[in-house]
């Protein structure tokens, strides 16, 4: 009770009240920037980093508080960063293909590879292609998964799910949800057409658009993770395109009829990496946090986060046999073998993709 009252008092008096009273008259510009105190670490992450089981051990060990801001998609993260002042953020969780773009904006700090447990991480993930810019490492992979299809075994023929053609299969008309992330969906289509995600050019977009729009008659709904989960669990749809382990793994213990796979035409991978901000005032702590997330315990917590499950980057991640089964631990080698990472295109292609996506959503 006492601590609650203290919290309230602290918040009321120090922040809101003083600022509230002063703020109105002394308009915006003169307001002090909310610099943070030494006992806080500000991390900008996907929602899977918000779990207590991941953060609490680190907070306890260093006696600090971690401020978590979650976002969905690099675009959103960048827009949040652009709305902040330098030094506001310490750690960024980033889709590794976006690293060059964010480095290009001068936001990330170089990493000293000797301090990272790189040898414990799965090989293909650590490849220089999406961690390095001009030979310097700016990110380290922490978690990965796939874009493919998640489905209800009892409602669909699992054999149909193996092919990307299922996206246009009339059999499932009105029974399909799409996870609402534009470029992976379009890259899945590109792969089905034999175009590598990193090779998509402006010229390919009309063809991809056509195929995307052709999917629409099958689509029941498009939504974020919980919306598509909801639709699948509630029986409104039988499969989720552009979804995989991250939409169903968490549900599989209660609903064993759910499953997921990647397409035979080729899998599309997503890889989350950890980066430290160039302007962070607490780089030491930030790197410690990176190592905490990469540690076997941190990796186990991250892989089975409440928000979504997915494969940890660390081979030594602490996971139970049941958890490993759901994550398809043993099949990873095969999966990785025929998957390519999703990448973000050039700004103009990306912007055009968002437009096509909007058109897709809008199509009757």
């Amino acid at each position: 009770m006492g601590s609650l009252r203290n919290t309230i008092r602290r918040k009321v008096t120090r922040r809101s009240f003083v600022a509230g009273a002063a703020g109105f008259a002394a308009a915006s510009a003169v307001l002090p920037k909310t610099g943070h105190t030494a006992d806080e670490l500000n991390v900008l992450v996907w929602c899977d980093h918000a779990d207590k089981k991941l953060l609490a051990p680190f907070e306890a060990k260093h006696n600090i508080k971690i401020n978590v801001k979650t976002y969905e998609g690099t675009g959103a993260a960048v827009s949040i960063i652009e709305q902040s002042s330098p030094g506001d953020w310490d750690v960024l969780v980033i889709d590794t293909p976006d690293v060059p773009m964010v480095v290009g904006k001068g936001l990330l700090a170089p990493m000293d590879e000797s301090t990272l447990p790189l040898s414990d991480l799965l090989k293909p993930l650590t490849s220089a292609a999406f961690n390095h810019v001009n030979g310097v490492r700016y990110a380290v992979p922490e978690k990965f998964g796939y874009y493919g299809v998640a489905y209800n075994k009892e409602k669909v023929n699992p054999a149909d799910m193996r092919s990307a053609q299922v996206m246009w299969n009339n059999k499932y008309k009105g029974r399909v949800a799409v996870y609402d992330y534009y470029f992976p969906t379009m890259q899945l289509i590109a792969i089905s057409m034999g175009i590598k995600p990193d090779a998509i050019s402006m010229n390919d977009l009309p063809k991809i658009r056509e195929k995307l729009l052709a999917m629409k008659p099958n689509i029941k709904m498009v939504g974020d993770i919980v919306s598509v989960q909801n639709a699948l669990v509630n029986g409104d749809v039988d499969m989720i395109i552009n979804g995989a382990e991250f939409v169903v793994s968490g549900l599989m213990p209660t609903m064993p009829q759910l499953d997921w796979t990647i397409f035979d035409e080729g899998g599309l991978m997503w890889i989350q990496g950890l980066s430290v901000f160039k302007d962070s005032k607490k780089k030491k702590l930030a790197f410690d946090f990176v190592n905490h997330v990469l540690s076997p315990e941190g990796q186990g917590a991250l892989a089975t986060s409440e928000c979504y499950w997915a494969m940890p980057a660390n081979k030594k991640a602490v996971l139970s046999a049941a958890e490993k089964k759901i994550l398809r631990w043993d099949e990873q080698a095969a999966f990785l073998g025929r998957s390519v990472p999703s990448t973000i295109g050039r700004a103009d292609i990306d912007s055009e993709m968002l437009d096509i996506w909007t058109e897709f959503l809008q199509k009757k």
Binding site: L4, T7, I8, K11, V12, R15, S16, F17, A19, G20, G23, F24, S28, A29, L31, K33, T34, N42, C47, A50, K52, N67, V68, K69, T70, E72, E82, Q83, S84, S85, D88, D224, I225, V226, Q229, N230, V233, N234, G250, L251, P253, T254, M255, E306, C307, Y308
Partner: protein, 264 residues
């Protein structure tokens, strides 16, 4: 009583049907917050408090709950005070550009929360102001100020002008008139304005979503939960938000009716 209802059979049927329609989402929300199982979908597996336990051990959620209360109370207090002062000034004086002043004060009512939020977000970016609970509170004052002003202004009748004059005539200063006479007389509508404003701020999402950073309010956390994983914890949180709003509204309704009742 029974005879009365018999005569109005259709009306009773309609009323019951309407109440059913109005309450069904609430009932479903509340019932499945007690779900004993991982998913808030039928069948209902019997009552359990596990999701409430989980919710109250969720630090981010509890913290956001406190944030929401703080933002709601402080922003509503300021909105009520400014709305009251503005209503008083408008009622008491022949303000120049009166129509214009009223138009500006009421204008935010005609603009969607989303647009107000985006406008503020753009402005914060331009001036390089960091987002925080303070900016959320400012946004909430923007949306609640016109409501507070309208509610309070509508209660400023001619009798209040004379009461104001009488107090001054008897020697009360500006401040004394305001605090010892006008504010006490206006207490019911000030209270109503405050409560309405507080419940709106407490449950407001889009502005809080756009203008907050680490410290977020409860609706934002609930939205994050909604995007993160399907569990009855969302139902539990929603039930709590509803319960707190309801209690506030009920208290406001009772207090206001008692006060107005006494007036008659």
């Amino acid at each position: 009583m029974i005879g009365h209802w018999k005569k109005n059979f259709l009306a009773v049927v309609y009323l019951v049907a309407a109440l059913f329609f109005i309450y069904i989402p609430v009932v479903v929300l509340v019932v499945f917050s007690f779900q004993d199982g991982q998913l808030p979908v039928p069948p209902f597996n019997g009552p359990s408090l596990q999701w409430y336990e989980k919710m109250f051990s969720n630090d981010r959620l509890v913290e956001s709950l406190i944030n929401s209360v703080v933002v709601a109370i402080i922003s509503s207090l300021l909105a009520t005070v400014m709305g009251f002062l503005a209503a008083y000034g408008m009622a008491r004086h022949d303000i120049r550009f009166r129509a214009g002043v009223r138009f500006i004060l009421m204008a935010p009512l005609t603009v969607s929360y989303l647009i107000i939020g985006i406008g503020l977000l753009i402005t914060l970016n331009i001036f390089g102001i960091p987002k925080s609970l303070l900016t959320v509170g400012l946004g909430h004052i923007v949306i609640n100020l016109p409501l507070c002003f309208a509610i309070i202004y509508s209660q400023f009748g001619g009798h209040l002008r004379n009461i104001d004059w009488a107090a001054r005539d008897l020697g009360a200063s500006d401040f004394q008139t305001l605090t010892r006479v006008i504010a006490p007389v206006m207490k019911p509508s000030l209270f109503a304005a405050f409560c309405l404003s507080a419940t709106l701020s407490w449950d407001e999402f889009i502005i809080a979503f756009l203008l907050s950073r680490f410290e977020v309010t409860l609706p934002v956390i609930i939205f994050e939960m909604l995007r993160a994983g399907l569990t009855p914890e969302v139902n539990a949180a929603g039930t709590m938000v509803f319960a707190i709003s309801m209690v506030t509204v009920a208290i406001a309704a009772i207090v206001v009716s008692v006060n107005f009742g006494a007036r008659k």
